[in-house]
Assembly symmetry: C2
Homo-oligomer: 192 residues x 2
Amino acid sequence: MTTKPLRADAERSVRTILEAAERVLSDNPAASMEQVAEAAGVARTTIHRRFANRQALVDAMAATAVRHLSEAIEAGRPETAPPLVALHQITVNVLRTKVSWAFALGQPAAPGSVVAGMQQRVAYRCLELFGRIRDLGVLDAEVDLEWTRRVYYALIGESLHGDDAGADPDVLAGRIIDTLLRGAGPRRPETR
Amino acid sequence: MTTKPLRADAERSVRTILEAAERVLSDNPAASMEQVAEAAGVARTTIHRRFANRQALVDAMAATAVRHLSEAIEAGRPETAPPLVALHQITVNVLRTKVSWAFALGQPAAPGSVVAGMQQRVAYRCLELFGRIRDLGVLDAEVDLEWTRRVYYALIGESLHGDDAGADPDVLAGRIIDTLLRGAGPRRPETR
DNA sequence: ATTAACTGCAACAGTCTTGTAGCGTTTTAT
DNA sequence: ATAAAACGCTACAAGACTGTTGCAGTTAAT
């Protein structure tokens, strides 16, 4: 099921196209292949050589993006590092990945596809981590972990929008985790 | 600057078109005018009679949607009702509005447009309410109100996605507010 | 009842986009 | 060095969508 290995220059082209497509399509999801080609510094026919359809291109982008996302999570050592440290590091890594692959990661994955499988796996890793954090007593014992995960995703997404979207990822991650764990209510006197 | 008042049937058509367009475009933002017309039970040319461009249609949808959103907020009596009661009621109303106008409300408003102005006004009403809630001591005294508002928006948006998107709005609103105020961390012993 | 507005239908021109094909040139692999 | 692979370029076919126009029939307002 593996395709013949591409020549070095071809592989470079594919990379360039995928990255250019992300830039262009994240700015305008309805952009034409021509615009993508121009942004990639490549002829439109070259894109069609590697990707039969527009859909094939988008699928490849989604696959690349979710792979990067997965790596961003693994790099945080969710199994071995102290859970809260891992959560912070993962959040930072994911923020970086999401700014670079906003469009591709926003694409809905076909139900049975490889990408969908990887997304589920990522979600599961996330749930595992939250479970470990809960066992530390930092998450409420009876909290809905799935809802917590969704809120976590939403907070990450929101952090990429406002004026502060370009701020230091460490700061953004801190705010995300603080909000996720404590909300906006009054801090406990002794915590302050 | 006001246009001539439309005849009764024409006004009905406009309504029908706007609602059909929302249904179709929320499912597929790239749908053609033809598909919108079919969903509205109307000839395509009728749409073009009322809306010069596709953009004009989308703008009208955005205007209608943000008007509904504004009404949803005012119906919660943010000025007069007890702040937390108002917050709950507003959340319920906004949830209902957002499911009906998901596409239109997701459209970015042109910087100087009327819609943009109304969005800002809505955001301001929201900030006012949060300010009042903070003064009750239910929000942390030093919390970033603007960030709180953005988190509130994000939680509402997230509530419309999962399997429970169709659940009782009162329940969803309760979860949103609980998460916003307390986060996912452990509850205080005496609160439980 | 009469008028004006509105709608459906059919047809049309114009544009944009996609996808394919051929050919000469450049780059890579061995 | 040579052969295969990849690329840019041009051209073309096919289709989709948009926006407009004209006309005949229907509906609402006075």
